[in-house]
């Protein structure tokens, strides 16, 4: 994926900043809108270089549709995670079997890897410990039997299926 032109990256940064301004002020007054636009233009001039590398290509309708579909999916995973935590904390025997497992991902972009790491941290029983190229090291609170094999490949396959694969089908489209 090559870098987009400077103009497109700048415009994308302005749009995102202006949307944040709209949500924070929550007012459609002309003076507020004008000042917000002015501030977005100034701040974007300083920050667009580190903010994005794809520019307006991020506003592709397919990506936005997947992003909107991802929100309820992710929130549901988070609620499940918390019910799981509730079960482990309140259960008198405290059923935990922790361990650090290794997963592989198919995502290429840095932002995608960040989003995947965040999603992993907030969903059932897993927390990201380190990311090295395409390998994720994840602390899992209940390591299932399939992941306890001696063979390295089977371990990676089993743990990836349990942790990363459910999110990748969305994040692959959103971030590439």
């Amino acid at each position: 994926m090559g870098e987009a032109s400077k103009i497109s990256r700048y415009l994308y940064t302005v749009i995102v900043l202006f949307l944040i301004w709209l949500a924070i002020t929550a007012s459609l007054d002309v003076q507020e809108l004008g000042f917000g636009l002015l501030l977005s233009l100034i701040v974007a001039a300083f920050t667009y270089e580190i903010f994005t590398t794809n520019g307006l290509a991020n506003l592709n309708p397919k990506r936005i549709a997947y992003m909107i579909a991802y929100i309820p999916y992710f929130l549901w995973a988070m609620i499940k995670a918390n019910l799981d935590v509730a079960y482990r904390v309140l259960h008198p025997k405290r059923p935990i079997r922790p361990g650090i497992v290794k997963c592989k991902t198919v995502l290429n972009s840095d932002v995608g890897k960040l989003a995947l790491a965040n999603s992993i941290t907030l969903t059932p029983g897993t927390i990201t410990l380190d990311v090295d190229e395409d390998e994720y090291f994840i602390h899992w609170i209940w390591v299932p039997d399939e992941a306890l094999t001696e063979s390295e490949e089977e371990h990676v396959k089993a743990s990836s299926e349990g942790i990363t694969v459910p999110f990748e089908k969305f994040l692959k489209v959103i971030f590439g």
Partner: protein, 133 residues
């Protein structure tokens, strides 16, 4: 008392329940890693519930307006994006400074990975020195 107020109150109640679970998890879990595990998740969803709940609650009252909801949603999104990163930084720092895993832990692939890396470096170094001579 209307439907919006009731929904907001229910969300705040659920959020505080998850806060309670998060605190209880800190006491009950055996080591740093499992404590991070329980406290991060519950505290994030608890905050989300409380904040969005307050926003919806304000919609149903006389003094409230839609501005409450948009602001609380923005705060909730910022929290949702930053909380897991701080958790990751803390847990990684704990591992790097040598905090041991709980004795009941079953696998530690990260140790193997780090050891394999160290071995590679040790093997590479003599070769480079040999090249210089």
């Amino acid at each position: 008392m209307n439907a919006l107020t009731a929904i907001g109150e229910a969300l705040v109640l659920i959020g505080t329940f998850f806060y309670f679970l998060s605190a209880l998890g800190l006491i009950r879990m055996p080591d740093v890693y499992n404590r991070m595990q329980t406290s991060t998740k519950s505290a994030t969803l608890g905050s989300l519930g409380v904040m969005v709940g307050v926003g919806i609650w304000a919609l149903g009252t006389d003094f409230g307006s839609a501005a409450w909801l948009t602001k609380t949603v923005v705060i909730a999104i910022f929290l949702l994006l930053t909380n897991p990163i701080s958790a990751h930084a803390l847990i990684r720092a704990a591992y790097k400074s040598g905090v041991p895993l709980w004795e009941g832990s079953v696998v530690d692939k990260y140790r193997e990975h780090l050891e394999a890396k160290e071995r590679e470096e040790v093997e590479e170094t003599p070769a480079e020195e040999g090249g210089e001579e």
